[in-house]
């Protein structure tokens, strides 16, 4: 069955949120809250509460990256400075930890930051082709609700958005 992408544009958050609430209460045929994507010029503080818990996992990768950076710095500096072959004497440590600590701290941050950014690019779906259903008004002041539905549900969904006072409804056949 053919699939369609639909994008309904709303004049403000109040109308968009009202529409989402109605979808949540099952008033839209053939779609649930999980299918909805909200597009907006700013991040509304209540959108997360209305859409329900959607996972953000950037911090897990950040933590892993930071730990890796710390370990990398320790082994890098140790391999450069360690004196395994000589008899430790005169107070010279095999691995001088205090000096390594500063660089471990710096590398923890370096790798933590880079991992965070790369993870963001992947998890936020940046640079990903998503079809042409987009409006430049979304970067001005309008709010969009997007979803992908079966061909048979298209008219019902459009009618629902019209009832919710959508300013404009765009559609595109995806496959």
């Amino acid at each position: 069955m053919a699939k369609h992408q639909v994008l309904a544009m709303f004049s403000d958050f109040d109308h968009a949120i009202a529409a989402i609430e109605n979808i949540k209460s099952g008033k839209m045929p053939g779609a649930t809250i999980e299918d909805i994507t909200v597009l907006s010029p700013i991040e509304h503080p209540d959108i997360d509460n209305i859409l329900g818990k959607r996972p953000v996992n950037v911090q897990k990768f950040t933590f892993t990256g930071a730990l890796f950076g710390m370990a990398f710095a320790f082994f890098f500096i140790s391999s450069a400075q360690a004196s395994f072959l000589v008899q430790p004497q005169g107070g010279k440590p095999v691995i001088p930890f205090p000096t390594a600590f500063v660089l471990m701290y710096e590398q923890l941050i370096f790798w933590g930051v880079w991992t965070t950014v790369i993870t963001f690019l992947v998890l936020a779906g940046m640079m990903k082709k998503r079809g042409n259903l987009y409006s430049e008004k979304l970067t001005v002041d309008q709010i969009g609700l997007g979803l992908e539905i079966d061909d048979s549900k298209l008219e019902g969904v459009k009618e629902f958005f019209r009832q919710q006072q959508a300013l404009e409804i765009r559609e595109e056949k995806v496959r």
Binding site: S11, D12, F13, D14, H15, A16, T37, V38, L39, S40, P41, I42, E43, H44, D46, I47, D48, L51, R54, V56, V58, Q59, T62, I77, A80, Q81, P96, T99, A100, V102, L103, Y105, E106, Q107, I109, F110, G112, V113, W114, T116, V117, T119, F120, L121, L123, A124, G125, M126, M127, K128, K129, R130, Y134, E136, L138, T139, V140, D141, I143, G146
Partner: protein, 490 residues
């Protein structure tokens, strides 16, 4: 009751479409003063290039760098530029974490300032090397002679810390720019549209992107704060870990960090006033925000003054004869003029920031910010040069004022920084459009909530009559929140 416009952070009734238009127009159509400043910066940079070529061909002697002055203005300037970068972190990362709303219209250029001042600072160790073609020696690479860098040296820590700070602050700037680049992509034409289209990385503003963006930005802010503090602590270790009088001081790391924040805040004031004028940003860079910046600068100035006093007291009561003699010599010796200039500009002048009338006077604040920066530059110079002039061996004592070549290169570094900054603000939005929209949205919601609560309280009072609770004028403990109105239509 809503406060008058001049007392607001910004006008909450600003239309969102207008915010886009104003900021995007600023990139096309600055005042003539922008181009004049650009030309002045270019000329200053040309002076530095000429001086560097002369120094390169003639040798480091023309910069006065010989025993005992192996470090001089180049290192003082390096410390100055590193310090200046810290205010960007303060404004964007620290104030972001504590949810200070007023940072939103001005943090973008502060972040740019961070990145460009680090890029400027990075030049000075290279220039200081003399043999600039060996610039990569400052990096901790595996030497082709089989000798590893000395990881116990703060100079190697510097290379790690500064490269980490530069890349992290540049990424912080770029990530924060993405939603604005998408706005610019959607509302410009020609080469700009293509450029922003590539740089916006496919941003559409969907909820998944916003969620990840918010988390990423917060995580990066959390990393940047300890990083900024560590960077300047490590730079201070270049001095504090030596045994030179005046440098071997326990309070140097916090002293350097406070000085860094101080000079950075002063630079933010200068750039605030310049951008406000160049791009007609009176509605975004408001007097209210300037006031808050001034108060922050004053608070940091007092911390810096206190740390100065602590350093003097520790030296005075420490009875280390070299340290004490150096301190006395700074105050009454050949460098006394600069010492007292530093005290005046750094400790006395900021008291001008206590006066509201002055804080709201842009020309006065421009002068004040320059005075504070002069004080902070002289402070760095007073750290480096007098110690080398009057170290342990009296037979090596020598006063040095910095030859013309050195001055020219230092002078030109301001031109280089100015050029980078001016090109940036012409190419990219210097006011964060999406954050200003958020700010207006939240301010409006707050005002509506207050109005709703007041109305509710009035209703309660009427219902209870004159003999109700709290003498008839009771204020409800909580009032239901008014629905948020969303954006203002275009």
């Amino acid at each position: 009751m809503t406060p008058p416009i001049q007392d607001k952070i910004i006008d909450e009734n600003l239309k969102w479409a207008r915010i886009n238009d104003d900021v995007l127009r600023s990139m096309e159509n600055p005042r003539r003063a922008y181009w004049i400043t650009f030309a002045v910066c270019l000329a200053m940079f040309a002076v530095a290039i000429a001086a560097e070529i002369y120094q390169y061909r003639t040798g480091m002697g023309v910069a006065g760098l010989s025993n005992p002055h192996m470090w001089d203005m180049y290192i003082a300037t390096f410390v100055f530029w590193i310090g200046m970068s810290h205010a960007g972190t303060l404004l964007s990362a620290i104030l972001h974490i504590i949810h200070a709303q007023w940072r939103k219209p001005i943090y973008r250029f502060a972040e740019a300032m961070t990145t460009f001042s680090l890029m400027t600072a990075g030049f000075f160790p290279m220039i200081h090397l003399g043999r600039v073609w060996n610039f990569y020696w400052v990096l901790p690479y595996v030497s082709d002679r089989g000798i590893w860098p000395n990881f116990r040296s703060p100079l190697v820590w510097d290379a790690f810390a500064i490269s980490t700070y530069l890349s992290a602050s540049a990424l912080f700037l770029v990530i924060g720019l993405i939603p604005d680049l998408a706005i610019a992509r959607d509302h410009t034409t020609g080469w700009r549209r293509k450029l922003y289209g590539v740089l916006a990385l496919g941003w559409r503003g969907d909820d998944r992107q916003w969620r990840n963006f918010r988390k990423t930005y917060m995580l990066m802010a959390c990393f940047l704060i300890p990083l900024a503090i560590s960077v300047h602590s490590i730079v201070s270790s270049d001095f504090a870990m030596s045994l030179m009088p005046g440098w071997h001081v326990t309070t140097f790391p916090p002293y350097f960090v406070a000085g860094a924040l101080y000079s950075g805040c002063a630079a933010i004031m200068t750039l605030f006033i310049a951008l406000r004028y160049f791009f007609r940003f009176e509605e975004y860079m408001t007097l209210n925000i300037m006031e808050k910046t001034c108060k922050l600068t004053f608070a940091i100035a007092m911390v810096w003054s206190y740390l100065n006093l602590i350093e003097f007291a520790a030296t005075w009561y420490g009875h280390n004869v070299y340290d004490k003699e150096l301190l006395i010599d700074k105050a009454v010796g050949p460098y006394a003029g600069l010492f007292w200039l530093m005290i005046f500009c750094g400790v006395v002048a900021p008291f001008g920031l206590c006066f509201e009338k002055l804080r709201r006077n842009m020309p006065a604040m421009l002068v004040m910010s320059v005075v504070l920066q002069i004080g902070m530059y002289v402070e760095r110079w007073m750290i480096v040069t007098p110690t080398l002039s009057m170290a342990h061996n009296p037979h090596q004592w020598q006063t040095l004022w910095g030859p013309v070549v050195e001055w020219a290169i230092v002078f030109g570094s301001f031109g280089w920084f100015g050029l980078l900054f001016l090109v940036f603000v012409k190419l990219f939005p210097s006011v964060s459009m999406y954050e200003v929209k958020e700010l207006a949205f939240h301010l409006k919601a707050e005002i509506e909530e207050e109005a709703h609560a007041a109305k509710h309280a009035q209703g309660e009072a009427h219902a209870h009559g004159p003999h109700g609770s709290l003498g008839g004028g009771g204020v409800p403990v909580s009032a239901p929140a008014a629905p948020r109105s969303g954006k203002e239509g275009s």
